[in-house]
Symmetry: D2
Subunit: 116 residues, 4 copies
Amino acid sequence: MTIDALLKQLLAFRDARDWEQFHTLRNLIVSTSIEAGELLETVQWKSDADIEALLRDPAQMKNLKHECADVLMYLLLVAHTAGFDLVDAAAEKLKLNETRYPVDKARGKATKYSRL
Amino acid sequence: MTIDALLKQLLAFRDARDWEQFHTLRNLIVSTSIEAGELLETVQWKSDADIEALLRDPAQMKNLKHECADVLMYLLLVAHTAGFDLVDAAAEKLKLNETRYPVDKARGKATKYSRL
Amino acid sequence: MTIDALLKQLLAFRDARDWEQFHTLRNLIVSTSIEAGELLETVQWKSDADIEALLRDPAQMKNLKHECADVLMYLLLVAHTAGFDLVDAAAEKLKLNETRYPVDKARGKATKYSRL
Amino acid sequence: MTIDALLKQLLAFRDARDWEQFHTLRNLIVSTSIEAGELLETVQWKSDADIEALLRDPAQMKNLKHECADVLMYLLLVAHTAGFDLVDAAAEKLKLNETRYPVDKARGKATKYSRL
């Protein structure tokens, strides 16, 4: 599925339930953050070996997918509500990161990018 | 731009800097959460009127776009690293939500969905 | 109860369950962030009037207290594990904030402090 | 310093700057979450060895203390604004956890407590 088709389905889902009234920019951004916290729960208390095992466990993988899905859906609603295209925004930011973190200086160094 | 093209650029960006070594599933999920916190900063201390004004202010809008972009990019890397398609995962979750929140019961009620 | 007495009880709780092995600094910090996300859920989708009502509703107040409690307990464990006193650290930071945000410049302005 | 003395200083700091007007329960909870995200940044991209090194590095330790301090200060303001004692709430929650996670069942198992 394309991300545009997903957004269209998401808006139809929202409108069928008359939920646009709750979808202020603030509420959607707050919800994105809450869902990111739930995504973080998928690795809470896990050792590196546990995380390896998670990737081979269908139930845990399904949970991981769904938590990522929730973050993406709110993020799409944030962008839609604010009136911009999410993927284009990311492409623009990535271009900026390319100048911020030049290959010759950033190569192999985690400290060079505390942020994307 | 399509999201697949974005992911491809993102992986090229990562590999040119030899950063895959830092991109464990845990680190990427932690980074998603950190970026969601930075997104939340875009509305911190703002009144509803301030948020309206933000939408008409180019500098603030750029900042909002970039924070959303950062969350999306990490989320794409999480999905890629775990081996699934992010948009397909969201489409699957949305289908599940449709059965969880039937239109006739959820209509107009925020309390019906504490979570997507 | 004093915060030192609370910490002492918390460590006894941890040790009776043999959970210190899971309490790495990283895990405790990740858990603090997850709990802060759950705290955020207490106001998700709520209007200002809903939040007023929450303060008069015993069940919601209990929930709010417990979510704050979880954040505090992990934070205490972070500080203990890293070897510093949490309250002293806050007193030191507050002193720093006093010089960062001088009264005459910061008075009545939210924009003056994006961060504590 | 006692936590009550800290809260008193914090309220004086707030009132000297006339900031109570911004300190709605929602804003304070949102700010707690943002600061928890900043705390998470202190371990972002770090290996276990890097985190060991952080504990012996005065600059990084100071940063860690200050990020914990920010979370605590907002949490204290949340509790004060909602009208309860933060430490008493934690003591109450800890008592609840003792019944939720009985020693004989929870001993040595991380999976037994996904949440405090």
